[in-house]
């Protein structure tokens, strides 16, 4: 019991280590791929983050100061910095406009002009209204004098709440003039999508969100619930990747951002709060696992319970009746089945079936390799058990085949049990092969496509689920083994000092 509890406690750190190693490998595999997912910008932004630790996470303040410096200097990176500044939009204004006067006259002119597209987006002016660099400087100075007080959290909160309650041109205009400064509040107000009222609220907010991000399109008031939910999820993914570019990090949020503003942190947050993450096709990993996992689970369970159960029984009988027909036939048959590649076996079995018979044939194809392998192990273990003293005593007392089999059932099932946990990954590989041969839409087909797409979220989630299942199966099989064989439990409790 103590050993089992220890194993369960170790499972957490083991899984964490698995995700870290898998993440490193998958990110390395991804870096070579050209294809990006649906949210190209978000994904590109994500790839620029450090892997596990971000000692100096960027926020809107640091980004604004950096880009303003680059634009003012007019160096080789000025064009890129101008684009970044325009992307930061209204959120950058409280950090840029008060410091405009501190810049050199040339730098001030460049920054003021670089900010003009933001003014157009905010609907503050047409291009013809502002002439030249001096006009731009004057415009921003006046803007900050007049509207600086609007760039406060309380004002934004009120504006977003009003826009969420009722759609009107003036309320939309109010939010438009705040530009990306309203993004954190807008994203928080999106909330969950369960009812038609939620869709209506999201439709009203999406009108203000859409001009700020291509990942957050306008949602119609009469959009189906599923569509609205999907669009909100897509918008949230974008926000999860780029959100800190629009907020100020200070105190605890800055410390948390050292971990959360990394590639691993983003994945972890997405996995923890977003149904194990989102596939590159835009669907929830949890939904896909639920939809496709059933058929794979059926196959793996069939291979494990059917194959190992029947194999244990067959091996036991073959071991006891070694010189009888059963014993003589079992060995060559088991070797022939075990030696036939699973791909050939499944195509041979599944290929002869049509329609619904495919599932049954696939189950048979899953059961056979397990049956063949376990019956061999079982037979060998039974034979070893029959060499022990208790077996000799049973023979001396004239025990028959069934008596011997019954007497050793408990000891000899340890072979199947010992392999229960460790063979699970092998069974998963076989199930992928069988699914492909039988044309079953299970985890196999989607995983193979995910490998092609370098779908990090799916592969990480699948690895995590498989690891958890294997870990639990190993603990279970060890606990069952210890329960069946008192010698093992005694050895586990006696284990302590090193080799003496």
């Amino acid at each position: 019991m103590r050993h089992a509890i220890g194993r369960i406690l170790w499972l957490g750190p083991s899984l964490a280590l698995v995700t870290v190693i898998a993440f490193v490998l998958l990110v390395a595999a991804q870096s070579g791929s050209a294809g990006l997912g649906t949210d190209v910008m978000a994904e590109r932004h994500l790839r620029e983050l450090p892997l596990f630790l971000n000692p100096s996470p960027e926020d809107v303040q640091s980004l604004s100061e950096k880009t303003v410096r680059l634009v003012a200097q007019d160096g080789p990176d000025a064009a890129r910095a101008t684009m970044t500044l325009q992307r930061l939009g209204g959120a950058a204004l409280p950090h840029v406009l008060p410091k405009l006067v501190a810049l050199s006259p040339e730098g001030r002119a460049r920054v003021a002009q670089a900010l003009m597209p933001i003014a157009h987006r905010m609907g503050l002016t047409g291009e013809e209204d502002v002439r030249g660099a001096d006009g731009a400087i004057l415009f921003w100075q006046r803007f900050w004098e007049d509207r600086g007080l609007d760039f406060r959290p309380a004002v934004v909160r009120r504006a977003v709440r009003r826009a969420a309650l009722e759609a009107s041109a003036s309320r939309r205009e109010e939010l438009r003039e705040l530009d990306t400064y309203a993004l954190p509040e807008l994203m928080e107000s999106l909330g969950d999508v369960h009812t038609r009222e939620d869709v209506a609220r999201i439709a009203r907010l999406s009108a203000s969100l859409a001009p700020l991000s291509a990942s957050c399109p306008v949602i119609a008031v009469d959009a189906p619930l599923e569509v609205a939910r999907g669009e909100v999820a897509r918008c949230r993914r974008w926000w999860s990747a780029t959100g800190t570019d629009f907020v100020v990090l200070d105190g605890p949020s800055r410390i948390a951002a050292m971990v959360s503003e990394t590639q691993y942190g983003k994945w972890l947050a997405d996995a923890a709060w977003g149904g194990l993450g989102t596939t590159t096709e835009g669907t929830s990993v949890l939904t896909e696992l639920d939809r496709r996992g059933r058929s794979t689970l059926l196959l793996v369970a069939a291979g494990m319970l059917g194959g190992y159960g029947a194999g244990a029984l067959l091996g036991l009988l073959a071991g006891v009746r070694r010189q009888h027909l059963l014993g003589l036939l079992t060995t060559p048959l088991a070797i022939a089945i075990a030696a036939t590649p699973p791909a050939v076996l499944s195509v041979f079995i599944v290929g002869t079936q049509e329609g619904s018979g495919n599932t049954i044939a696939a189950v048979v194809a899953m059961v056979l390799p397990g049956l063949a392998l376990i019956s061999r192990h079982e037979r060998a273990l039974t034979r070893a058990a029959l060499r022990e003293e208790p077996a000799r005593t049973l023979v001396a007392f004239g025990a028959g085949t069934l008596g011997m089999a019954r007497g050793h059932l408990r000891n000899s099932t340890t072979a199947a049990l010992a392999l229960l946990g460790s063979d699970l990954p092998v069974l998963l590989t076989v199930s992928f092969v069988v699914e492909r041969a039988a044309g079953i839409d299970g985890l196999g087909a989607f995983t193979l496509a995910a490998v092609e797409r370098r779908d990090l979220a799916w592969l990480m989630a699948l690895g995590l689920v498989v690891s958890l299942t294997v870990g639990v199966a190993q603990i279970l099989s060890d606990a069952l083994l210890a329960a069946l064989d008192p010698r093992l439990s005694a050895a586990l409790s006696a284990r302590g000092a090193g080799f003496e």
């Binding site: 050939v344 460790s422 592969l459 284990r495």
Partner: protein
């Protein structure tokens, strides 16, 4: 006082080894398996040269068998070269160490065993730019080294408290001597079984990975030929027979070696 060293003499050791080989090859099936594996190794060595001498070259059934023998032998060789020493070292370290080291290594083994080959192969393919046999060998070797390590660890832990080990220690033999004379020979035998299983697993994995289209296609491997045949290509009876025969030979040999480890007579009902 000089320490007693109950070490077996060289002659005794040779006698024990030849006795083990005799027991393992006592059955005709085991001898046939060994002969088949010898043919496979010879085919791997000279097969590609013979294949080019054929009229249809590598495209004929025999040509595919001969070329595939080389491919599978290279992969199996890589697996054995990596998995056996690695698994043995980890198994011995875990089995002979204290609770802390054992727990750490055992949990490490667990972590490494979590990922199935079907996910590992494409990830390694994308991460490392290595030739296909080496990639496949690496992926299979990981799983096989874990199996070997588990077997060796169990055996070492069993031997640690065996009466003759305790007796040797009581007679003053050093830990290293006891380890070399008693524990290592016992822990080495499961490696032979693990090696035979590794050979069988490697060939089956090669076919599965080729069938799923992962790790790139290799027209010269038995798995690649079978996969292309299953996908509607020309029939690959030769590679199929060769793959099944070689895998079966590995299984038979593994069984014979496992039986030879325990020399006690079978006493069940006949």
């Amino acid at each position: 006082m000089s320490a007693a060293r109950p070490l077996p003499s060289n002659r005794a050791r040779t006698r024990r080894t030849s006795g083990f080989a005799r027991r393992a090859l006592a059955r005709p099936a085991a001898r046939l398996a060994l002969a088949l594996l010898t043919v496979w190794i010879v085919a791997a060595a000279i097969g590609p040269r013979l294949a080019t001498l054929q009229r249809d070259g590598a495209s004929s059934s025999l040509g595919l068998v001969l070329l595939g023998a080389r491919d599978s032998a290279v992969i199996v060789g890589i697996v054995l070269a990596l998995a056996l020493p690695g698994g043995f070292a980890v198994g011995v370290l875990a089995g002979a160490g204290g609770r802390g080291r054992d727990t750490l290594l055992a949990r490490g083994l667990e972590v490494a065993s979590f990922w199935p080959t079907v996910l590992l192969v494409p990830i390694l393919t994308s991460t490392l730019s290595l030739p296909r046999p080496l990639l496949l060998g690496l992926a299979v070797a990981l799983g096989e080294s874990l199996r070997t390590a588990r077997m060796v660890r169990g055996e070492v832990q069993r031997q640690r408290f065996a009466p003759y080990v305790v007796a040797a220690r009581a007679l003053g033999a050093s830990r290293i001597d006891v380890f070399r004379a008693h524990v290592v020979p016992h822990a080495t035998t499961p490696i032979l079984v693990a090696a035979a299983f590794a050979g069988a697993t490697t060939i089956a994995t090669d076919t599965a990975i080729s069938f799923l289209g992962l790790a790139g296609g290799a027209p010269t491997s038995w798995g690649g030929a079978l996969a292309s045949s299953l996908a509607g290509g020309p029939p690959a009876i030769g590679p199929l027979v060769a793959a099944v025969a070689t895998t079966a030979a590995f299984y038979v040999l593994a069984g014979a070696l496992a039986d030879a480890i325990d020399p006690r007579p079978f006493l069940g009902p006949r």
